[in-house]
């Protein structure tokens, strides 16, 4: 029986690796989902069949409840996917934390000898990672969802990093004491202290982090959730858990590194740098003038173009303009114009978010181009159309050493022959950093709500098709 179940776990592990392997292209990606489902189902069935498992009603009840909550969670609008992802990290974290807690008290009562220092270290790592991922992810989800009682702005105070460090150090010291004296009389009382410290640490870790860094933070929390599963695998001596957790952990790590590179920031800077207080753009100075263009004029330029690059940002999703963008794409394609979308890695609120939003609007993924590839083509572009993006096209990243985004790789919109930027209002200082691109000689502003402006462009293009 043991051999059979181990074999099943091995198959499940292999299926998980295939699942991720098939994600390397959209053509095979759905196969990856099925492999993942098969692996998970196999592991659940085999575990459930273990002779020690006798309370079946409990299991059925908990699984049923999981479906009741899981199905609606999978139907959220795609703009809310980052929150959902953060919430699922929280679920993963609490699951690991609770299983670790249960294991400790269970073994303490029944078989204290089982709690070797190695298992205890793994178990404590599991609960610390699990509980801090739980509260940290809840905070992240709250920030993304803009829940009222979660502060949106980064919360910082003097000595913040020191407080966090001391807190973690305390947890580690208590953890060390318990790890080597798991059966001491005081140990079961000290155990909850670690839990409380981990829960607190999760909150404190996230409050100083601002909205712009959320994609990185989500990726890091993803990694933590994976590592807590690894730790659980060490405790239970389950190679399946270790493998699956390691896959998740490395995935989160790689995504976090990609995000950091795309913002030209280091890991530690994201976590401990409190990016939030962006210095207000050097106010005063000469009042620069925007050049405004009408939808009619812009439509004529677009019509004459042979290559149009659309640069979307999260603002496009906020204005719900994706579907209008798709109509514009159709109109231009009909006229033989090549249309590409330039996707910055940190556009949107989580890694890859913009691609999903555009795919939902039925834009073929073959026209979604990564930053590095599109930058080669930018000098050939007749028109760059900026829709709801700002920092990712700000030339200050190349030129202005005092800018907080200096050094960040950007999409070189300013190299296109003509630049159109859609902007809601003429007010500068839109709570962020001044964008030189808007004052470029070849930049024309289209003022208004993104959805309405693109709608007007579409109207001009479709109405004007009969004229001349």
């Amino acid at each position: 029986m043991y051999g059979l179940s181990q074999f099943a776990y091995l198959v499940a592990s292999a299926l998980f690796i295939f699942a991720l392997h098939w994600m390397n292209t959209p053509a095979t990606a759905r196969k990856g989902v099925y492999a993942g489902i098969a692996g998970t189902a196999l592991a659940i069935i085999v575990t459930w069949a273990e002779p020690t498992v006798i309370h079946h009603v409990w299991i059925i009840g908990a699984i049923a409840l999981g479906f009741v909550v899981g199905v609606p969670l999978s139907r959220v609008p795609l703009t809310a996917v980052p929150q959902r992802t953060a919430l699922s990290h929280a679920f993963g974290g609490i699951a690991a934390g609770l299983v670790g807690t249960a294991e400790y008290y269970l073994r303490l009562a029944e078989d204290p000898g089982w709690l070797t220092p190695f298992r205890m270290v793994a178990l404590i790592a599991e609960i610390i990672l699990g509980y801090l991922t739980f509260t940290g992810s809840l905070m992240a989800a709250g920030k993304l969802q803009e829940v009222k009682w979660v502060p949106q702005r980064p919360v910082t105070y003097p000595g913040q990093n020191l407080v966090n460090f001391l807190l973690l150090a305390t947890a580690v010291v208590v953890a060390g004491l318990i790890a080597f004296n798991p059966a001491a009389a005081w140990a079961p009382l000290a155990f909850p202290v670690i839990i409380v410290l981990a829960l607190l640490f999760g909150v404190l870790l996230i409050i100083p982090i601002g909205g712009a860094d959320m994609p990185t933070v989500i990726a890091i929390l993803n990694s933590y959730a994976g590592l807590s599963a690894v730790a659980m695998g060490f405790v239970l001596d389950s190679k399946l858990l270790i493998t699956a957790g390691a896959l998740d952990g490395s995935s989160g790590l790689i995504l976090a590194i990609i995000m950091c590179k795309a913002m030209n920031r280091s890991f530690t800077n994201v976590l401990f740098g409190a990016f939030g207080q962006v210095q207000q753009a050097k106010g005063g100075g000469e009042q620069k003038q925007y050049k405004a263009e009408t939808a009619e004029g812009a439509a004529q330029v677009l019509e004459q173009a042979s290559l149009v690059v659309i640069i979307p940002g999260y603002g496009m999703a906020v204005a719900q303009a994706q579907h209008k963008v798709r109509e514009l794409y159709d109109q231009l394609k009909k006229r033989g114009v090549t249309v590409k979308f330039a996707i910055h890695p940190v556009a949107g609120r989580m890694p890859g978010h913009m691609n999903v939003l555009l795919a939902e609007a039925d834009i073929p993924y073959t026209d979604l181009v990564e930053m590095d590839d599109i930058n080669h083509d930018m000098p050939q572009a007749d028109v760059a159309l900026v829709v709801g993006a700002n920092d990712v096209v700000n030339p200050a990243a190349h030129t202005d050493k005092s800018s907080p985004i200096y050094g960040m790789p950007i999409i070189d919109a300013e190299k296109a022959r003509t630049i159109f930027a859609i902007k809601r209002s003429k007010n500068p200082g839109f709570a962020g950093i001044d964008n030189e691109l808007y004052f470029n000689d070849r930049t024309w502003m289209l003022f208004g709500d993104a959805k309405a402006v693109i709608g007007d462009l579409v109207k001009e293009l479709s109405g004007g098709s009969g004229r001349h």
């Binding site: 499940a12 690796i17 991720l20 994600m23 390397n24 993942g36 998970t40 659940i44 273990e50 020690t52 498992v53 309370h55 079946h56 409990w58 999981g66 909550v69 899981g70 969670l73 999978s74 959220v76 992802t85 699922s88 679920f91 993963g92 609490i94 699951a95 609770l98 299983v99 294991e103 269970l106 009562a109 190695f118 990726a219 993803n222 959730a225 994976g226 599963a229 659980m232 695998g233 060490f234 239970l236 270790i242 699956a244 957790g245 390691a246 490395s250 995935s251 790590l253 995504l255 990609i258 159709d330 989580m350 890694p351 890859g352 691609n355 999903v356 795919a359 939902e360 039925d362 073929p364």
Partner: protein
Amino acid sequence: MNDFWSTVYVFVLASFIGMGVIRKVSRLLHTPLMSLTNAISAIAVVGAILVTGGDYPLRIRILGAIALFASMANIVSGFLITDRMLKMFKTDSKPGVR
């Protein structure tokens, strides 16, 4: 000291495989990738099943049941939403048809 070294081996090798495989994942799919790995790491469900279903004191099983519920919610929503997103990625729009 059971299988200490063999579990560490598994962890290190699995991490290398993870790095290798994830690096090759299309950047288009990073959002679905994250929801898929969420669902996969919810394999912690096996630990929860053992704790919930075992012949253990009630309070232990309650902790297990909550963990089982949370993992299952992740499995269900993770796989469903990944598939939902992946369905949207199409190579080309049929010309003329919306």
